[in-house]
């Protein structure tokens, strides 16, 4: 979907409810990916209970939020995972969930395949074990491939293969496309963001400017590759990519974390972007009345980008990418296609913000892949 400008202007003022709500079900994870957006690992003892989670689904259904993106941590680690997913789809709340695949065996694949309104995204970060396991840990690629095999054998239909674009994976675009097509799956590419643990690896792993240019051209030729509107900062290179092409934080998207905290988007789990908690007045109240969300719905200040002829195409890029690299909101995106962001970063002396929510495992754990 490509939204024309008038519609995009309206979205900037926010909607009655999000188009797209991300809900991280748990911070627990059996992997420890180096770029984890939510710094996941350990379960948070304050996690929403099954009863609370169902009440939240009721509210999501009442607000007519069409679907939720469920993630984590590894959502399938929650014992009530299927109970919650089935509760949601029975209320016509579609579920798209992201998984590392380690918990998808023949039986769970059949159960997933039996559900309507359900999409599955299996994550890998390379088209081969060597590339992917560097990010996600030894054994993770083979586990994800086994999950894909199970989904295919269970006739799940077109599941999604989700890949974060790093300096290494971006060199394997054609391989990912071939892999997806071998399964009859859909390819989904997203941007590496310096959020969560990603802040530690972003500098060395984010695609180079030349790689981003190639990625843009590749995507432009393949409107069917899903991106979750991830790469709108690249739209400054020419024709807009598929998507709304604006920062949706607090306007059309937001994130609910495992303890019910509501953040402006999935990439800003940080006190500065915390809008409220669903345990207090419910999600709808946070969405409608949060001061933070109101301020995000004000027209953006083009700041340093005001004099750039491409501001209307990229709108200054990604708020999270700026924040966690220590840039101001009025600065260009650190991956600005014209290099303005790189120059802003060189001149910036502020220390980048430290994550205020970290559930990483304290000691490196041996992978317990089942």
């Amino acid at each position: 979907m490509v939204a024309e400008n008038s519609l995009r202007d309206r979205f900037e003022h926010g909607l009655a409810a999000p188009i797209c709500l991300t809900w991280e079900l748990t911070y627990a994870c059996n992997l420890a990916c180096t770029h984890c957006l939510s710094s996941s690992g350990r379960r948070d003892p304050r996690e929403l209970s099954t009863v609370e989670a169902k009440a939240l689904i009721d509210e999501i259904a009442a607000m007519q939020i069409f679907y939720v993106n469920i993630g984590g941590g590894e959502p399938m680690i929650r014992r009530d995972f299927f109970e919650l997913v089935e509760y949601a789809v029975n209320r016509r709340v579609g579920v798209k969930f992201s998984t590392n695949g380690t918990r998808i065996d023949a039986r769970s694949a059949r159960r997933l395949a039996s559900l309507d309104y359900l999409d599955v995204q299996v994550s890998i970060d390379g088209a081969d074990a060597l590339t992917s396991d560097r990010i996600r840990g030894v054994g993770s690629y083979d586990a994800a491939r086994r999950a894909m095999d199970h989904l295919a054998q269970a006739h799940f239909g077109p599941f999604k293969i989700s890949v974060v674009m790093t300096r290494h994976s971006v060199e394997q675009l054609d391989e990912f496309e071939a892999l997806a097509s071998s399964y009859g799956a859909q390819l989904r590419l997203t941007r590496l963001r310096p959020s969560g643990r990603g802040v530690e690896v972003w500098q060395e792993l984010h695609p180079t400017r030349e790689q981003n240019r190639r990625l843009y051209r590749w995507l432009l030729e393949r409107p069917n590759v899903l991106t979750g509107d991830s790469f709108f900062h690249l739209s400054a290179l020419g024709s807009p990519l598929e998507g709304l092409n604006l920062c949706g934080a607090g306007r059309v998207v937001c994130l609910i974390d495992p303890v019910g905290d509501v953040y402006a988007c999935p990439f800003v789990i940080h006190d500065e972007f915390l809008a409220g908690n669903v345990r207090e007045a419910g999600f709808g109240s946070v969405w409608r009345t949060s001061e933070l969300f109101r301020s995000l719905r004000e027209p953006g200040n083009p700041g340093a980008c005001a004099s750039c002829g491409s501001f209307d195409a990229c709108r200054g890029g990604c708020m999270a990418a700026k924040f966690f690299t220590g840039l101001e909101m009025s600065d260009p995106d650190p991956e600005c296609v014209f290099g303005h962001g790189e120059r802003a970063l060189e001149l910036r002396v502020t220390i980048r913000p430290i994550s205020s929510s970290d559930h990483s495992t304290r000691v490196p754990v041996a992978l317990a892949l089942r």
């Binding site: 024309e4 519609l7 309206r10 009655a16 188009i19 579609g94």
Partner: protein, 97 residues
């Protein structure tokens, strides 16, 4: 919905037959009109006029799309609304028959 699909012509849309919102579609009011989501093909569609939303909601009550247009929409606007209905039908948001 892609603006590209609004290029759909009215040739495939039979205004003389009965149409209604697909049962797989949820419609949510917004300030600009409404958002429609098809749970089957996962398409998200923006309806950018209140009149179009009303028309879509009430289509099923009329014997034909044309009769709904006659009753609800200014005759000078029919051509534009037919294009919109046609594009909604091609996205499977409307069900004919």
């Amino acid at each position: 919905m892609s603006t590209r699909s609004s290029l759909a012509t009215t040739s495939t849309f039979d205004a003389s037959s009965h149409w209604e919102l697909s049962s797989a579609v949820s419609l949510r009011d917004e300030e600009f009109g409404a958002l429609a989501y098809h749970h089957g093909n996962r398409r998200l569609v923006f309806l950018k006029s209140r009149d179009l939303v009303n028309l879509v909601r009430q289509l099923s009550e009329y014997d034909s799309a044309q009769k709904a247009l006659d009753a609800l929409i200014d005759a000078r606007e029919h051509e534009r609304y037919l294009v919109a209905l046609s594009s909604l039908a091609s996205s499977e948001l409307l069900r004919g028959g």
